[in-house]
Symmetry: C5
Subunit: 170 residues, 5 copies
Amino acid sequence: MRTIGIADTTFARVNMGAIAARTLRDLDGRIQVVRTTVPGVKDLPVAALRLFRDQGAELVMALGMPGKAEYDRTCAHEASQGLIRTGVQEGKPIVEVFVFEGEARDDRELTFLARRRTEEHAVNACDMLLHPERLTRRAGTGQRQGFRDAGPTGAPSPKRRIGNAIARYA
Amino acid sequence: MRTIGIADTTFARVNMGAIAARTLRDLDGRIQVVRTTVPGVKDLPVAALRLFRDQGAELVMALGMPGKAEYDRTCAHEASQGLIRTGVQEGKPIVEVFVFEGEARDDRELTFLARRRTEEHAVNACDMLLHPERLTRRAGTGQRQGFRDAGPTGAPSPKRRIGNAIARYA
Amino acid sequence: MRTIGIADTTFARVNMGAIAARTLRDLDGRIQVVRTTVPGVKDLPVAALRLFRDQGAELVMALGMPGKAEYDRTCAHEASQGLIRTGVQEGKPIVEVFVFEGEARDDRELTFLARRRTEEHAVNACDMLLHPERLTRRAGTGQRQGFRDAGPTGAPSPKRRIGNAIARYA
Amino acid sequence: MRTIGIADTTFARVNMGAIAARTLRDLDGRIQVVRTTVPGVKDLPVAALRLFRDQGAELVMALGMPGKAEYDRTCAHEASQGLIRTGVQEGKPIVEVFVFEGEARDDRELTFLARRRTEEHAVNACDMLLHPERLTRRAGTGQRQGFRDAGPTGAPSPKRRIGNAIARYA
Amino acid sequence: MRTIGIADTTFARVNMGAIAARTLRDLDGRIQVVRTTVPGVKDLPVAALRLFRDQGAELVMALGMPGKAEYDRTCAHEASQGLIRTGVQEGKPIVEVFVFEGEARDDRELTFLARRRTEEHAVNACDMLLHPERLTRRAGTGQRQGFRDAGPTGAPSPKRRIGNAIARYA
């Protein structure tokens, strides 16, 4: 069994932690999930640290949903810096999954985006731990999580980056 | 007994440290409070560190009230980065409770907001230490401290986010 | 004897280090001062570290006077981050005393402000080391260094925050 | 044999990792390449750390292609801070090779720029490890990677900095 | 013999490392110089670290010339943060000497400014290591490196801060 930690927040408006846990378990039976929930994104670095140290996580998914205000973006920035610091201090990867409220036009799109980005990053987390060669096969291919992939520069169809609202996720 | 540290400032215009101490003691008889006061928010990281190391705190609430000027926001940003660094270095959680003077319209609202945010974060701090499962039950439910909760995206009533001034805190 | 370190700069236009040393000695006969001077504010973090490690300082006052340009504000920001990091790494408090040239209207006001802020922070430094209970008694009272105190939100007189130029310091 | 690590991303739209690996091998037969691919630039610091610790890299090239949005620039900033932190923590050099999508006018130019910058930084990486005296010989000569060199201030021809689109890379 | 390290870049358009080395040797026969050159300012923190650890430097001069674009300023900011971190981690001073291309009007002024600032900071570096009392004698006197000194606030002549282009350096 390999252990992946999940740290999420009560601030988020979608239960991203539950989505991540379910996706990880579906992806590979060898993955064991440990989870902790904290108030906001600035609490995620220490939460990740404790998952590494106290619960044996080899990789942590840090999930958050910063608000729209400028102050919220500052908080997210501080949280990101702290997550990177924590990973470097502990020598273990942290996959940051942040969904900004301002990215979506309404609650329905926000829910959709949060789910999809979380699921796609759960695949990344699983590959980082169990199938690193899969990531190298996708190197330089313009992968995006939540939105449509940008694709590699050599891709034949310029339509890939033009589209209506729904196409943003196609 | 579990020990929670409180670090607050002489710069703040509301005695947030006293509010936090009283709330924590009311919440659970098993919580013991240790407190230190410093001049401003930039002094909070070392104050938190000393509460961890010298006074046996397992978790610290760091309370501050940055002013309205741009420079004050920079100070708050530096303080936040330092608090996250301290938590990660020590491996112990710090619950940051900052109230910005510019968030409130007048002294009365500022007092109200400082009290309410401090109280709600005292509940978070207590839960993080004694009842972590309660935080996971609130995961993804759009909790806010001081202002009204945003609620989960699936919430039936859009009125939750519309309201007059008083309703901001309802 | 208790030892307080003073780190100041040749960039500053007022001899803040001398003011701090004199004030500390006047405040309490038990305080011994050690001092080092560096070119600019970005050199203060290492200077503070050396005062802690090589000269036995228990607390350091870091004094600087950043210029008016945007670049000077960036330097001050980097210096502040470094000072907080140093304090957290060493587990000892650093009282930052920065006076920005742009805060004052002319050289006379700048001199006045630098002196006053340095003196008031010397009192803070002394209290942090010898009388921490005095700081807790001032918790949440809106203390300011150099300018007039903002006062607590419950203060009766709104005139406290209205005034002419001279009243800024009253 | 000397070992250089390559960390690149699936987010990038050009396979910068493959270009770097090929260039390094062509430059010097004594260079052995180890490579890891992660989702985005914020994952590069821990990836570099693991290449140092687990795979014996003496130097790491960290390759990424941040997007055009303001948020992407923030991510790149956080990644850069993390890479510098990692290098300083481990005491080993990390050559950051970031190509911003906004630097190029179209996919063709982006491909060209990514390739050229990667190749030129591979030469730097090789020289840092095997021929440090070559870098000192180029000290102060206005080297640029990807775009045309700015040249030293004493250069005779002012035309060096004037040119049409193609000349940007000449 | 005392050892000062010099770290400079191939990105700079003036050979600041050579100027620093020559000036240091001229200043005091007891100073031994060790030098390393890296591609850009973001490589300076690790370069300084290696000069401390591998080459016995007691102090490092970190020389760089960031470009005019906003991105270049971000790089310089990250480099400065990394240099401060390195100094604090190692407990040894790093004198940062950055000249921004945008500070000068043309190549001739840029060359002049780079030379003068480097020379004046070499004096600072020498004094920090061998004559710290000289810095304390200059405390609060408004020293500037490259441009004219601002002077202390009590200086009699306001003309010190008024002048034509040439007077900027007088």
